[in-house]
Symmetry: C2
Subunit: 236 residues, 2 copies
DNA sequence: AAGTGGTCTAGACCACGGC
DNA sequence: CCGTGGTCTAGACCACTTT
């Protein structure tokens, strides 16, 4: 494992183990350098990583501090592929409604950057939290990249299979959010009424070489879904 | 200006000027180093910055590529304080409904980390896009930090005033999203019906030293609002 | 003035992709 | 094998905060 990743993990563990709260001060750079026996740049890189993840913030001339918000049960929109991290303490299950190899819709073809006659996996499933329907998902996977899927994989974590099983590396994702009203089918699956609010999330996931491999449309039950985003000021 | 920021700006401008598209290749590191006359680390830092901003992605052994999604009119959830960047090409106006110095609500006091008897600025305004109501905003500013506000400032960009006028530096923000149904007052301002969908966004903005200075609750017109988030894989 | 983080360099070596 | 990006170092110097 890379040094700076390892150090970042250690620091995160340290925060966890000592139950540090927002604003608590971490050891100074010098201390961390000697403690881990690495150069300043490496420690800095670890801290930059933790800053991106929203775990710490650094103040010049002052120190390194813990960043931690208090709310629980929110889905982190930046933890890419959804919940596993944000909601790991909750009871999540999923039901696979459909799994097949087919041709993409126009929309899926555009987003996956494939031709209309190329094969894709189509997956439709419902996610439950504490037995309540949380979301209805439709996903398209480029079969040229994701060469094989089955019900077992799809019932568990597809992304875990992609990284572990297929040895692929996920690079980045684009996610688009809309608010609207449920249609009849969505309402049925989510156990709500037609025309009640919904959040629709469309995501395109790319490998680390930039190839899109997954286009997903997820409809959330508005009663169960809350999201958070931690931003840092590189946006000026 | 810092070298790496300047270089990042230049590269972004280069992409813009040459109308590069997703997947287009940028000059190699070596080239950028000599072109800008800086060390490898500095170019790398620029590229990391652009990667965080979702402008490029780097592939080891292969090159540096442009990252660009096609959809227009989406609000970037990471560009902290809202629209200015994402929607700058659209006609945005705002109407100030209220501006006063008062005591915080319980909720605002908790989020701003102030006592209930400390002064805060309370601002209520509506944002319009192309003359259509986009959002209804209620904001609380810690008066100990944001020492002065007036109608003119509030009608324009408050954040611009905070950075330029007051010389403060914004550090990071936490944003929470909920979906719900409009109440009567919200419906009136947004020119919708009661019980129609709404997106409610609560944000806490912090200075670069970690102090929270702004707690805002924004209710979006579901017909006007679409959001996007670009994630990168540091989430593993 | 002392403490602490941020920027930048020059260079060594490593890891991955593509020819 | 070569081109290309990624990690890591040691050290100089800078900028902001705290005492």
């Amino acid at each position: 494992m890379l040094k700076y990743q390892h150090i970042a993990n250690e620091i995160e563990k340290y925060i966890e183990d000592h139950a540090l709260k927002q604003g608590d001060k971490l050891p100074v750079l010098e201390k961390l350098m000697t403690q881990f026996g690495v150069s300043k740049s490496t420690v800095t890189k670890s801290l930059d990583l933790l800053e991106k993840k929203g775990v710490v913030f650094q103040v010049r001339g002052s120190g390194i501090f813990v960043r931690k918000h208090k709310r629980k049960g929110y889905i982190n929109l930046l933890a890419s592929q959804g919940f596993k991290n944000s909601l790991e303490e909750f009871q999540l299950t999923s039901e696979v409604l459909q799994l097949k190899v087919t041709k993409p819709t126009q929309e899926a073809a555009v987003n996956l950057n494939v031709e209309l006659n190329q094969d894709v996996y189509y997956v439709k499933r419902i996610r439950y939290i504490h037995g309540q329907p949380l979301s209805l998902e439709e996903s398209y996977f480029n079969k040229a990249i994701i060469t094989y899927l089955n019900k077992e994989i799809v019932a568990e974590s597809i992304f875990n299979y992609i990284t572990e099983g297929l040895g692929l590396k996920i690079g980045f994702s684009d996610t688009f959010l809309h608010i609207g009203k449920l249609n009849e089918e969505e309402a049925k699956y989510l156990e709500l009424e037609k025309d009640e609010p919904k959040l629709e999330m469309e995501s395109v996931f790319h490998l680390n070489n930039g190839q899109p491999f997954d286009f997903s449309k997820v409809t959330y039950n508005y009663q169960q879904s809350q999201f958070f985003v931690q931003a840092s000021s590189y946006s000026l």
